[in-house]
Amino acid sequence: MLYKILIVDDEAPVRDLFEDLLKEEDCHTVACASGEEALELIKKDNFDVVLLDIKLPGMSGLEALKHIRDLNNSLPVVMITGFGYDDDLIARSKQFSCSGYIGKNMPVAQIIVTLKQFIKNAKEKGCAQ
């Protein structure tokens, strides 16, 4: 088992895809649909990395990131979004020390490669970038 990954996305097909893709990469995955659930899970369990969707119902991804940083400053969090590479969203994610930013508009194979690279970097540095 390579990494333990928490996937946070309100859309089940997206969560399932991430889980299936990452399992193929020999990762252990846990998935949830909201920022609130994610915070509870992070309090209880240790994850190597969190994949966090920006557009979530209720607590937004950016708010969730802020709360995660209050709990754990070194947990790698990669933001994912259907909005693509938006300067404003990237800047706000960086403000709360996200470890990476991935647009869902990227080809999937590339997303996996990038994701693995982010995780590797984050693990090596041992803290958020």
């Binding site: 859309e11 097909p13 997206v14 399932d16 895809l17 299936d20 893709l21 193929e24 557009k55 979004t81 259907g82 909005f83 693509g84 938006d86 300067d87 404003d88 647009g103 869902k104 508009n105 080809p107 999937v108 194979a109």
Partner: protein, 483 residues
């Protein structure tokens, strides 16, 4: 009764409100009434028997009056015509009065020769003053009207003939007064516009006394000017309808502004809608392409593999389109760095070939300004603009041709980049829409390329313009300020 009047006549004349003088053939004063004494500021005792010109009229005007008097006296032709003149006199109260005199010849009994004349003098000082002040008002109004350029005022009579045309009419519509006076008012009204129909406007004005409508007027050069037209009854002093007064306010500038605001609002709404839609498409698309990718690793028949490849290709097409839409809707601020425009163009030239372009032979001629100062801009964004325009230029020449790229330094103010093709050009009616999102002249275009280019150049405080002629080609001009 007749005797009565004869008896009263001397009294009536003496006390008349009109100045009365009676002169003999030589101009000696025989009689002078009270009013004449008062307007001329004289005492009759001093002037009776004396020459009227000498005692009443001095100065230059006396020569003219003398000639007139002579003409009346020597009227041997028997026309019996009276003559009129006006002159200022110093009244008994010391004020200057303007008197209108008429010299009426008095003939002897056989009506052949003049015995003398009777003069009637009307004090017209107040009338003159009133007229002068009216003229002043008239002149001031004309002055005021000449300043107002965005209004045209015209009056028509009941036959719809224009009887007055003024204010900014000439500036606004190009018609001069002489072009238009006494012409039928339909000359100003656009027959293609129902709201401009003169009969209808007049009918409404007749019924309601006042009618206001948004319509169009026709300028001399046949241009149609949008106006707000107000029509009122034109009444004579007795209150009788004699025609209609039209006041037209030029709405050209307002319409232009409204249109710009409308376009801007449309773009903002379109941007928000696009971003929302793109996000909603991206999620399922991500799942589809992810699942497709996973399927490819399975052991599958060639037929399934081929089909999957097709699906993947089309999914990729949607992904790229959504990407483009997101790019368009995004307000991305340029990441500024110092850029050499020539270098930026050189960077993208090799990329043009990767974009599945027609195989026709296309030559690129460069004429670069050698001493080009650097500009501040986002290299990637600007290169995207150059690439986009170059690809358009390539695509416009399916049978080959030349693309000229000229860069120049305009007075150290801005870098000018001109990219000219010899392609099919863009129809004139499409030119105004060419930078609009989702507008495309190509069957397979998204219509976003040039609107993204325009956004990028605007974010760099620059200008992008297009000139084009059908079957001759197009020139894109980009101006980017040095700072």
């Amino acid at each position: 009764m007749v005797t009565d009047i004869k008896e009263k006549l001397p009294d009536l004349i003496e006390n008349a409100a009109v100045a009365v003088l009676y002169l003999d053939h030589n101009g000696s004063i025989l009689f002078c009434n009270k009013k004449a004494e008062s307007v001329a500021g004289v005492n009759r005792v001093e002037i009776i028997g004396k020459n009227w010109l000498a005692v009443l009229f001095k100065g230059a005007s006396s020569i003219m009056i003398k000639e007139m008097f002579k003409a009346v006296m020597e009227d041997s032709m028997g026309y019996k015509r009276a003559k009129d003149f006006q002159c200022h006199m110093s009244s008994a109260e010391g004020s200057s009065r303007l008197i209108s005199w008429s010299i009426n010849p008095i003939f002897n009994k056989n009506n052949q020769t003049t015995e003398g004349c009777i003069l009637f003098g009307h004090d017209i000082t107040e009338i003159e003053e009133r007229e002068a002040s009216l003229k002043n008002i008239d002149d001031s109004l004309k002055n005021i009207f000449s300043i107002i350029k965005e209004y045209t005022l015209y009056v028509i009579n009941l036959d719809a003939k224009i009887t007055y045309f003024g204010m900014g009419g000439e500036a606004m519509l190009g018609w001069s007064k002489s072009d238009i006076i006494f012409k039928h008012a339909s000359i100003l009204h656009d027959t293609n516009d129902a709201a401009s129909n003169l009969d209808f406007i007049l009918q409404q004005a007749r019924l309601f006394g006042k009618y206001e409508t948004e319509t169009k007027l026709v300028a001399k050069n046949k241009e149609v000017i949008p106006v707000v037209l107000t029509v009122n009854h034109f009444l004579d002093p007795t209150g009788k309808l004699t025609g209609y007064v039209f006041i037209a306010k030029d709405m050209t500038e307002k319409k232009k502004l409204e249109n710009q605001i409308f376009q801007a609002e449309k773009l903002v709404a379109l941007g928000q809608l696009s971003a929302g839609m793109a996000h909603e498409i991206n999620n399922p698309l991500f799942v589809i392409s992810g699942r497709l990718g996973m399927l490819k690793n399975e052991k599958l028949s060639q037929k399934v593999k081929d089909n999957l490849a097709l699906i993947e290709g089309q999914t990729d097409r949607i992904r790229k389109l959504v990407d483009r839409i997101l790019q368009f809707s995004r307000k991305s601020t340029p990441v500024l760095e110092e850029i050499n425009v020539n270098q930026a163009i050189d960077n993208v030239l090799p990329l043009v070939h990767y974009n599945k372009l027609p195989q026709a032979k296309i030559e690129i001629k460069k004429s670069f300004e050698e001493n080009m100062p650097q500009i501040k801009g986002d290299l990637h964004q600007l290169q995207e603009v150059f690439l986009n325009i170059l690809i358009n230029a390539y695509q416009s020449m399916p049978t080959g041709g030349t693309i000229n790229i000229v860069t120049s330094n305009f007075k150290n103010l801005y870098a000018q980049i001109q990219i000219t093709d010899m392609g099919m050009g863009i129809p004139e009616d499409s030119l105004k829409d060419i930078f609009m999102p989702f507008f495309s002249t190509k069957s397979d275009g998204t219509g976003l390329g040039l609107s993204i280019c325009q956004n990028i150049i605007k974010n760099h405080n620059g200008i992008i313009e297009l000139e084009s002629q059908i079957n001759k080609g197009s020139t894109f001009t980009i101006k980017l300020p040095f700072i």
